[in-house]
Amino acid sequence: MAGAAAVNGGRSPVPLVALLLTGCSGIQSSLDPAGMQAGATFRLFELMIVMCGVMYGAVLLFLGASVWRVRRQLAAAPAIEPADPGLGKGLWAWGGVIVAGLVVLATGSFFVERALAAARAREALQVRVTGHQWWWRIQYRTPDGRWIETANELHLPAGRTARIELGAADVIHSFWVPNVAGKMDVIPGHTNVIDVSPHRLGWFRGQCAEFCGAQHAHMAFDVKVDSPAAFDAWLAQQGRPAAAPADAIAARGMAIVTGGACGLCHVVRGSAATGRAGPDLTHVGGRRSIGAGTLPMSRGALQGWIAQPQALKPGTMMPAVPLDGADADAVAHYLETLR
C-alpha cells in the first residue's frame, strides 16, 4: 500500500483522512494502484487531497476566527451596508486563491487525461469483454487471429497494454478494476474501448459499477496480472478444448452436462455442450470463483450452485437443475476437473 502510505506520511492535511485510509484491503481499491492508469489517477487524487485539504482548513480557520471574534464585538445598532474596504480586498484575494487552485487542479487533470490517452499508441493485446446480466464474457484475440473465450476471470500480462473492447449484451454495465484503471461504461449500441497497462503481479478484483438490475451486487470478476510468459502459457492452455474425463465419476458428470440442461446454455469446447447464453465452461475448474464472484471455487460450492442458484444469487438467469445427490456430485467433480 505504497500510495496510502504516502498519504499517511504526514502530507495529508486532514488527519481523519489519513486515519481512515489505513484500513483498505487492496484487491479492489483505487488507493493501491497496480497499473499505469490507476497510478496516474492516484497521483492526481493525492494532489486533490492536499489542495482541497488546504482550502478546507482555510475556510474552517476563517469561520473559527469569526466565531472567536464575537467576544470583542460592541456595536449595538444593526448596521446597514457598513463600509468594509478590508473585507473587499479579502474577497478579491480569496477569489484569486480559488482561481489559482482550480487552475492547478484543472491542469493536473488535463495531464492525467493525456496520460490515459497516451497508452493507446503502443502495441496492444486485444481483448473483448461483454457485459451480461449478471456475468462477464471475456474473449482474447490470438496473434493468428483466433478468438479464445473464457468468463468472469480476466488475465493480463504485466508491462503490456491491453486494449479492451467493451460491449453489452442487454443493459448498461460498467467495467471497473480499480487497482488497474478507472471505469468505463458498457453500453448497448456503443462500443467503448479502455486501455489498461498493469505493472504489478497479483490477484485483483473487478466489479460492475453501473446498476444493472437485481444482481448488480454479484457481477464481479477476478483479475490476474501475470508475467508475460505465464500469461502466454495460460492463454495457450485456455485455447485448448476441454480435457477428456479422467475417471468414471467425471465421465458420468460429462454425460449429464452434455446430455442434460447444462449444454443448452453453456459451452464445453470439445464436447456436445454448445450453448452460448451462459459462461463458457471449457476451463471452469481453473477459475478462482463461480457465479461471477459469488462463491470461491470448490467442488462443494459448485454442487450448491447447481442445485440452488436462486438461493445463492436470487434472480440469476441460471435455473436450478434438479439432480440427485450422486449426479450433482458427478457434475461438480467433472467441472472441477475442467482446468
Partner: protein, 626 residues
C-alpha cells in the same frame, strides 16, 4: 384603517369554514404549510428506508433484505428525496415567504399555487400508494434505459416512476411561474431590484432555472413511457435509437436540479447570517452575481455525470473546466457569509448554528465535487460510495442544514411561538455529528472500491467496519431528526409567544403579525433601503388598496413603481378538481395511450371553469340578453 374597514378586509380574505374551505383555499400560507407537513412526513418515511438500507449494509453478507427489497428501497428513497422532498420543500418555502417578504397579500396566481400543491400530492400518492400495494419502482432515482425499457422492466414499476416525475414537475413548473411573476411584478413601492433582499434573488434564480431545466426531464420520461407503452424506438439501439440520449436529457435537467435545490438554501443562509450578525450581507452585489453565474453555469456541465460513458476526451476536458469553474462563485459566497459574521455582531441562536454546521459540512461536499469534476479522477469515483458521500454532503449538508436553520428561523413567524433553544442545540449536535460520522467514511469506502447500489458484499472486501460506522452515524442523525420534529410540535403549545419580530430582523415579513393574518398586511409597506425594518422610526406605508375585494398591488419590474391594483382571485374548488382530473389522466396513461386523449377533456372542462370570468351577461352583440 378604520375598524369597519379592517373587519371588511378580514371578511374578504377569510376562507370558508369546513371541508369546502379546506379544499378551496388559495391562501399561500396554508398551501405552503401543507407542502411542509407532507414533506416532513416523507422525510421520515425516506429516512426509515435509509436506516433499513444501512442495517442491511452494516455487516458483510447480511440477509435481512434480498436484492429486490434493497433495490426498491434505494429507488424509493432516492426518488422521494429528490423529486418529492428537495425541490417541493424549496417551492413551499418560496410560496410561504415570498409574498410576506414583499409586503404583499398573496401570490400572483393564488389558484395556481393551490393547483401546484394538489398535483404534487398526486405525485406523492402516485409513488407511495402503489408501494403500499407492493408495486415499487426498483431502478434508482434515474432509471436508465434499456434497463427501464419494455424489454428489461415489464410490469408497471418503471411507468409509476416516470409518471410520478410528470406530476411533480408540472407542479414545480407551475410554482416557479408563480414565484417569478410575484417577485418581478408585486414588489412593494420602492423595492427596486437594487433594494431586493438576497433571498428573493435566490428564489428568482432558482425558479428561472426550474423553468428551463424541468422540461428536459418531462420530455425524457415521456419518451421513456412512449417506448414502453406505444412501442416508439427512442432508446432502442436496434431500431436507430440511442440509450445515451436519455442520459443527456436526464442530466440536462439533473445537474441544474442540484442547484435548484441549493440556490434557495443560499437564500436561507444569507437571511439568517444577516439577521444574526446584525449587519446587512457583506458583498450583496457579488453574492447576486455569483448566483446568477451559478444559474448559467449549471446548464453547461451536465456531461460531468457521464464521464464514464466514453465521450471524446476533448469534451471531457471542457466539462472538467466548466464544472470546476462553479467552485469560484460558490467559494466567494462562503467568503461573504463568513465575512458578514466576522464584521458583524453574531448571536449564536439555533438558526446561526445551522449555518455554521452548513459551512463546515457543505465545503467538504463542494471540494469532493471538485474531485469528481476532474474527468480522469471521476473514472475512479463515479458510481461508487465516494459519490454517495458527495451527493449527501451536498444535498443534506448544503440544502437540508440551511433548511433546518430556516425552519427554526421562520418558525416563530409562522406559529407565533418560539422553539426551545436547548432542544434545538441537541438536535443540531445529533444531526450534524451523526451525519458526518455516517457519511464521511463513505468517501473512503468508495476509494476502496465499493460500488453504489449493491445490496451486499463479501467479508473479504474489508468494507465491514466503515459500513458499521456509517450505520451508527445515520441512526444518530435520524434520532436528531426526531428531536427536531418533536421540538417543533411541542413548541406549538409550550413555546413562548414570539411577537412580530423576535430576532430583530431586517426584512418585511417581520412587520406582519405572528402568525400573519390571511391578508398578511393591511397597508402596503414602502421600502427605502435594503433592510427596511432596520431603519429607525415608523414604517412608511401606502393606503388605498381595496378592503371590499381581494386586491394586490402590481408594480414595475425594475423600479417597483405602482402600476395598477390587480384583482386577486378568491377561493375555488376548480384547482382541486383540475388536479384531480390531471391525476386521473396521468394514472390512466400508464395503462392506455388513449387516456391522454380522453383524459384531456375533463382537464379542459375543469380549467375552463377555473378561469371562467364572473361578469354580467352581455347587453350588446348578437348573443345579448334581451
Amino acid at each position: 384603517m378604520s375598524p369597519d374597514e379592517r373587519e371588511r378586509l378580514h371578511a374578504v380574505w377569510a376562507d370558508r369554514p369546513g371541508l369546502l374551505g379546506f379544499l378551496g383555499t388559495v391562501d399561500h400560507k396554508r398551501i405552503a404549510a401543507r407542502y411542509i407537513v407532507t414533506v416532513v412526513g416523507l422525510l421520515f418515511l425516506s429516512g426509515m428506508l435509509a436506516i433499513d438500507m444501512r442495517l442491511q449494509l452494516s455487516q458483510p453478507d447480511m440477509r435481512r433484505m434480498g436484492p429486490q427489497q434493497y433495490n426498491e428501497a434505494f429507488a424509493l428513497h432516492g426518488s422521494t428525496m429528490l423529486f418529492l422532498i428537495s425541490v417541493p420543500v424549496m417551492e413551499a418555502m418560496a410560496l410561504w415567504l415570498v409574498p410576506l417578504m414583499l409586503g404583499a397579500r398573496n401570490m400572483a396566481f393564488p389558484r395556481l399555487a393551490a393547483f401546484s400543491y394538489w398535483l404534487y400530492l398526486g405525485g406523492v400518492l402516485m409513488l407511495w400508494l402503489p408501494h403500499a400495494l407492493g408495486i415499487t419502482p426498483d431502478l434508482g432515482w434515474f432509471e436508465y434505459p434499456p434497463l427501464s425499457g419494455p424489454a428489461y422492466s415489464p410490469g408497471h414499476r418503471a411507468d409509476i416512476w416516470a409518471q410520478m416525475i410528470t406530476f411533480t414537475e408540472v407542479a414545480a413548473l407551475a410554482a416557479s411561474v408563480n414565484v417569478v411573476a410575484t417577485i418581478l411584478k408585486m414588489r412593494p413601492p420602492g423595492m427596486t431590484l437594487a433594494r431586493m433582499p438576497f433571498f428573493l434573488w435566490a428564489m428568482l434564480v432558482a425558479s428561472l432555472m426550474t423553468i428551463f431545466a424541468l422540461p428536459a426531464i418531462m420530455l425524457a420520461t415521456s419518451m421513456l413511457i412512449a417506448d414502453r407503452l406505444v412501442s416508439t424506438q427512442f432508446f432502442a439501439p436496434a431500431a436507430g435509437g440511442d440509450v445515451l440520449l436519455f442520459q443527456h436529457m436526464f442530466w440536462f435537467f439533473g445537474h441544474p436540479e442540484v442547484y435548484i435545490i441549493f440556490v434557495p438554501a443560499v437564500g436561507f443562509v444569507s437571511s439568517i447570517v444577516e439577521t444574526f450578525s446584525r449587519r446587512t450581507l457583506f458583498g450583496h452585489v457579488p453574492m447576486v452575481l455569483s448566483i446568477l453565474a451559478i444559474g448559467v453555469l449549471a446548464f453547461g456541465l451536465w456531461v460531468h455525470h457521464m464521464f464514464a460513458v466514453g465521450l471524446p476526451r476533448l469534451g471531457n476536458d471542457f466539462y472538467t473546466a466548466a464544472s470546476m469553474a462553479i467552485a469560484l462563485p460558490a467559494g466567494l459566497q462562503m467568503f461573504c457569509w463568513i465575512a458578514t459574521m466576522w464584521s458583524g455582531r453574531p448571536r449564536f441562536a439555533t438558526p446561526l448554528l445551522w449555518v455554521i454546521g452548513f459551512i463546515a459540512t457543505f465545503v467538504i461536499g463542494g471540494l469532493s465535487g471538485v474531485m469528481t469534476a476532474s474527468a480522469p479522477l471521476d473514472l475512479q469515483l463515479t458510481d461508487t460510495y465516494f459519490v454517495v458521500a458527495h451527493l449527501h454532503y451536498v444535498l443534506i449538508g448544503g440544502a437540508l442544514f440551511p433548511l433546518f436553520g430556516a425552519f427554526c428561523y421562520w418558525y416563530p413567524k409562522a406559529t407565533g411561538r418560539m422553539m426551545s433553544e436547548r432542544w434545538g442545540v441537541v438536535a443540531f449536535i445529533l444531526i450534524v455529528g451523526g451525519f458526518n460520522l455516517g457519511f464521511f467514511p463513505m468517501h473512503v469506502l468508495g476509494l476502496e472500491g465499493m460500488p453504489r447500489r449493491i445490496y451486499t458484499y463479501g467479508p473479504d472486501m474489508g468494507w465491514g467496519t466503515l459500513n458499521l460506522v456509517a450505520t451508527i452515524g445515520s441512526a444518530i442523525a435520524m434520532l436528531g431528526g426526531i428531536v427536531l420534529t418533536g421540538n417543533a410540535l411541542i413548541s406549538l403549545w409550550r413555546g413562548k409567544p414570539a411577537g412580530a419580530d423576535p430576532w430583530g430582523a431586517p426584512t418585511l415579513e417581520w412587520a406582519a403579525r405572528s402568525p400573519p393574518p390571511q391578508h398578511n398586511f393591511e397597508e402596503v409597506p414602502v421600502v427605502t433601503s435594503i433592510a427596511p425594518l432596520w431603519r429607525h422610526g415608523d414604517l412608511p406605508v401606502m393606503t388605498g388598496l381595496a378592503t371590499d375585494r381581494r386586491e394586490v398591488l402590481v408594480t414595475s419590474v425594475i423600479d417597483a413603481v405602482p402600476q395598477y391594483r390587480h384583482h386577486s382571485v378568491g377561493p375555488s374548488l376548480w384547482p382541486f378538481v383540475a388536479a384531480l382530473a390531471t391525476s386521473g389522466m396521468f394514472v390512466a396513461s400508464i395503462f392506455t395511450p388513449w387516456a391522454v386523449v380522453w383524459g384531456a377533456i375533463p382537464i379542459g372542462v375543469a380549467l375552463v371553469l377555473w378561469f371562467w370570468p364572473r361578469r354580467p351577461r352581455s347587453a350588446t352583440g348578437p348573443l345579448a340578453r334581451r
